[in-house]
Symmetry: C2
Subunit: 206 residues, 2 copies
Amino acid sequence: MGKAQATRSAILQHAVDLASEEGLEGLTIGRLASDLAMSKSGLFAHFGSKQDLQLATIEAAGMRFYEAVIAPAASVPEGAPRLRAYCERYMQTLREGLFSGGCFWAAASAEFDDKPGPVREAIQQAVRAWLGELQRQAQIAGAEDPYGLAFEIYSLGLGANAFARLLDDHDAVSRASETLERRLLAAHALSESTTDRAGHATAVEG
Amino acid sequence: MGKAQATRSAILQHAVDLASEEGLEGLTIGRLASDLAMSKSGLFAHFGSKQDLQLATIEAAGMRFYEAVIAPAASVPEGAPRLRAYCERYMQTLREGLFSGGCFWAAASAEFDDKPGPVREAIQQAVRAWLGELQRQAQIAGAEDPYGLAFEIYSLGLGANAFARLLDDHDAVSRASETLERRLLAAHALSESTTDRAGHATAVEG
DNA sequence: TGATTAATAGCACGATCGTTCGTGCGATAG
DNA sequence: CTATCGCACGAACGATCGTGCTATTAATCA
């Protein structure tokens, strides 16, 4: 890997955190440069424009999320177990602060949800990828409404982030986890057979 | 009412919408002035600083939300009926676009959830007031976990806003409404006696 | 080691940011 | 009629924004 790649990567790692604090528009080249003890123009040369920097930052945030949530669950069996693993990892990232300024996607979504352009599309794509994974595992798990279940999971994530960050509710993530657990159990009761270890088949149907 | 008050009010109405689109930092005095065909300095004179403008904008957004959601439900009996009325009005505002750029509070929360200062505190206060109302009615309705119920309602609102705005999911609000309805019915089953018309008292307790 | 290329710094630009100051107009009061 | 005041305007400030150029350093290769 060339030196440029390493520098670019270091820039983006900091850019992700800075954007999670200040937003993707508040993410400033000057600020970023002084934080990294670089010159504005030297940093800028790695990206042709601010928009490219924003797009690269989104991509880097996506990779960080992937490494923290998706990848570790790859060894878990698909369906209900992996869906549960996703949720646990997801909540864990909120607890531990995967991004220094709170959930990157919550901030980026709210900021660009009404601004057409490549940045919005990139955020859309990343969020859709995450929701698609949730939906896919929910479907394999036999949920009656996989998309709806993904919607609820994502909503609880947004709520937990907002409560924890804005309202300083230190139990917010735990609360969301428990709510999520109840919701998964309810959805799971429909197809008890798909699951992990014990085979005490007490399938219910609503 | 003096002329200044009228002008200030007109400024703030536009500021609320502009902030819901561009964020409270992206809310620019120059942009605001040109939108209203005013001079920057003439507009600025109504507020001593940008921060005061932001605070006034938050207050105006709070009043708009109050008029659209809280006030119309004042005549509905407290407890479960009013809680339901709140939720319906809440979802209605998301459907109809009470703020031109999506939920003002979702945007403001994500933007300032990590920036200490008077602006964050004002947003906190407004969100807490809304959550407190939800919690209060949930408690009167006899919910076993009023705070948790308020959390879920708010989370579904955030989710509906994100899905509708970022992902162009036109059924997002309806989906959230239905999820909310199921959730309220489940919570309501615990204390059937408190409610509206029929008195078939089948109270359960957990 | 010397030559070539890649990576960073320096500097300047137009634009816009929040903010301040002095001014002018219109109505109101003496 | 005149003096005062409330309100908005235009110009300008220093700072910072994103973005180009040109030089200079650092890394790579013969």
